[in-house]
Subunit: 137 residues, 4 copies
């Protein structure tokens, strides 16, 4: 079994933070292991305090449900099969873009969650985190 | 009064697990009694950890509200009478398919909840559990 | 990294249940993996429904905090260093006997939690589960 | 108004981590601002997952209640004025050592919380974090 460690988490956050600075949107950034347990978190200067829990829960969802949060967004629209899933687990199941699983050899080893911007920007920052992390493998 | 006992719960889980293995989707499977109290739970190897609570809450909903969770899915669409019910009870009222009440002589005696796959598959696995359990009556 | 799987969990529960039947006390029995994520749960006929959460939280505590719950009981007495820890994590940190970590080659790979009897009996049943599981290694 | 920023938080965590490594106890380390809002968190390899919430809540308590958690430990003993306060705020008010406010010119500007070891060690690691942070002012 494989899982992210703290060095991985720092690289994910470093990559995400760098992109957040580039686009000028301070973010909350969380990284969990494959079981959805928090490894590291940073709130950049100006990141929204309501986004702390949202970022953590996006990372938890992506890692532990093995699915990008925006995929849940599509699947949970009115009339779609997973409609209503957003309030599951005490509202921790996030269906808003910005949570991505981290894969290693096809297996989910953790997740990153980003919040404070628009969902599109949150997702772009999460992707930048994943890209930076992969470049170190 | 009649309610499921632990032997019933094991049969429900055995039938559901067998079908989950057939379709190749590892599941979280929960069984509650008619009061919505958990009797038994199993997470198959590879079942999602976010689905633990979801499976339990699907079983709770089906048993204690005496209604299949997919029926709530229909009733809670925008504009429908139960719109918004998904966040009730701290988000435990599940409106996504995969929770079924168990009936004995027309009376609800418990419930089964399944999660980790698509809602359609979760429901099929729950139905397989019910079918296997009934074949032992 | 190693963790309990569903077969391990079933053996732990089987060993614990057998001892519970011997002493005539129906129990709630929970098994988690090393991250404190629930793998399996059974409530025996007559097990207390309030004990469902208690058994699960004892297993979570033992596995994820890598410590028997009765050790927390000692450490959290008035005047002792961990006094007040029992209400941590929303009250999920259990300091009552009946939660034991499962070890493999000196490493915590999961936990078992038992509740419904006296704490002494809960612990004896948890120990019986561990003993039965180890006899299969 | 003054409050810790992310650079401060990283320094606090760096100082705490260094001491944790020296004593060989992997820790969960959290830093909040003066309002008790999380700025940064790290779980070292081997830090307990139950300690994630405990570390965060120690930091929240120290910063937002402007009091070291071990002072609450004394004040909340049976018969003392704050007896029972440990279960306040859903159990988030921590009375176990390991949470310290961070002061700047006599004013609380944030807090650090440490968990995974004995309370004495948690506090020593938190103090090392504060000391390292102050050496950069």
């Amino acid at each position: 079994m494989r899982r992210l460690d703290l060095d991985d988490a720092r690289r994910l956050i470093a990559g995400a933070s760098a992109h957040a600075r580039e686009i000028g949107v301070p973010m909350c950034i969380a990284v969990t292991d494959e079981a959805g347990q928090l490894i590291a978190f940073e709130r950049m200067e100006g990141g929204k305090v309501t986004s702390t829990t949202i970022a953590i829960d996006k990372a938890v969802t992506a890692a532990a449900a093995k699915k990008a949060t925006h995929d849940y967004g599509t699947a949970s629209q009115p009339g779609a099969p997973a409609y209503g899933i957003n309030s599951a687990i005490g509202g921790r199941l996030m269906v808003v873009a910005g949570g991505l699983p981290g894969l290693f050899e096809g297996e989910v080893v953790g997740g990153i969650g980003v919040s404070s911007g628009t969902p599109t920007r949150d997702q772009a920052v999460a992707e930048a985190g994943i890209k930076h992390w992969r470049s170190h493998d």
